[in-house]
Symmetry: C2
Subunit: 205 residues, 2 copies
DNA sequence: CTTAAAAAATGAATTCATTCAATCTTTTTT
DNA sequence: AAAAAAGATTGAATGAATTCATTTTTTAAG
């Protein structure tokens, strides 16, 4: 059997994470006080810091769980992509974007992205960055698959093209998160337009 | 003559900005205390907050001045661009990147970018975002000029292509700022590779 | 020149994240 | 099963950003 200590640790960790996720959604990141998170998790303030390095860390942990899901959702599209470059990209990117706001507010995304930029060495920032890397890889994989199917011209550097598509969709997501009023549809439309030149030109003749 | 009040205000504003810029460079953003900035500027802590909304605001103000210079430096290239798509892009982007680290450390960039994402509504964040928009416009303008010169194929959406190049170089700069060990040359090489597919394909035959 | 109104400056008080020495709990050893 | 060691928890203390009621300075009016 797992030792008592290990079980208690896992328990507390989950309680803290859950309490934080709920509170962030209820009152936003800034207004959520560590003291309140600790209280809801039935843990002392000091204990909180045994589990997370700082306040930002626990937000990035929350957001990372979400990115894992986005990544999983993306796999279904990469495994069976639409048969045009533009169609495949729109499907994958649409999937990413649609998933993003199910559990997290724009404010939470902004804060998490800001933290992962500002403190790139903290453990959860590293995890977040790693997930980003895998999302980027997923886009490249999509292009590569299309190339194998003959939809993308041979001779194209699929990795380079994938990275460009990814960096663009990622930057545009930051833009989207910054503008509270911008709707998902506008984001998608703008990204589609930006992707069109490259998407069209790499298509096999 | 300008009123005494207006002159004093401008004076103090500059003293605060200068004191902050110096201190940030000396000890980094986190270790720079408002109290110290205020003391060097010969101003009270309270007065600081009459000029800047918060600590982040003054960093973003500092960084914005730098972006203005980057923008100005870029103009010389856009006005007289090299005659290949790849060459022109490399010149412009190289100019941006080279300029970036003259006065500001990676830490300062990271913090400024993080703040402009997290608090997009603060006045200096808006200014920073606006400057980004103009940098993006500059890249689009470059592509457009190349198109008029016949270097880029007609029929290409130069604005879309420009935005894609810009979002890519911007995202890669974030990446660069996150990795203290990454040298400028590596950044440039990676961006060049990423740009190559689109740059090659939009070139006039 | 005096006085009233407006604008700015001041710094002590407040708030909150984070730290750390003391205490308690679980595991290991004998 | 008692004692020692290791691992966790605790909450009061610390330190820094931000606020705000008061005071001071400047401008405008009479």
């Amino acid at each position: 059997m797992t030792g008592l200590r290990a079980r208690q640790k896992a328990d507390r960790n989950r309680r803290i994470l859950d309490a934080a996720a709920v509170l962030f959604r209820e009152v936003g990141y800034d207004s959520a006080r560590i003291e309140d998170i600790a209280e809801r998790a039935e843990v002392s303030v000091g204990a909180f810091y045994n589990y997370y390095e700082n306040k930002g860390d626990i937000l990035v942990a929350t957001v990372s769980m979400e990115v894992e899901e986005v990544l999983a959702a993306g796999r279904t599209i990469v495994d069976n992509p639409p048969s045009s470059v533009e169609g495949a990209l729109e499907a994958l990117i649409g999937q990413y974007y649609d998933h993003s706001l199910v559990y997290l507010s724009k404010e939470m995304w902004r804060t998490a992205m800001a933290i992962s930029i500002q403190q790139p060495e903290s453990p959860f920032s590293k995890r977040y960055t790693e997930l980003d890397r895998r999302l980027c890889g997923q886009v490249s994989t999509l292009i590569q698959k299309l190339q194998l199917k003959g939809v993308v011209a041979p001779g194209i550097d699929s990795e380079a093209a994938g990275e460009m598509f990814f960096n663009n969709l990622n930057m545009m997501f930051i833009e989207f998160a910054k503008h509270e009023a911008m709707p998902l549809d506008e984001l998608k439309a703008r990204v589609s337009r930006q992707n069109r030149p490259l998407a069209t030109l790499i298509a096999a003749p």
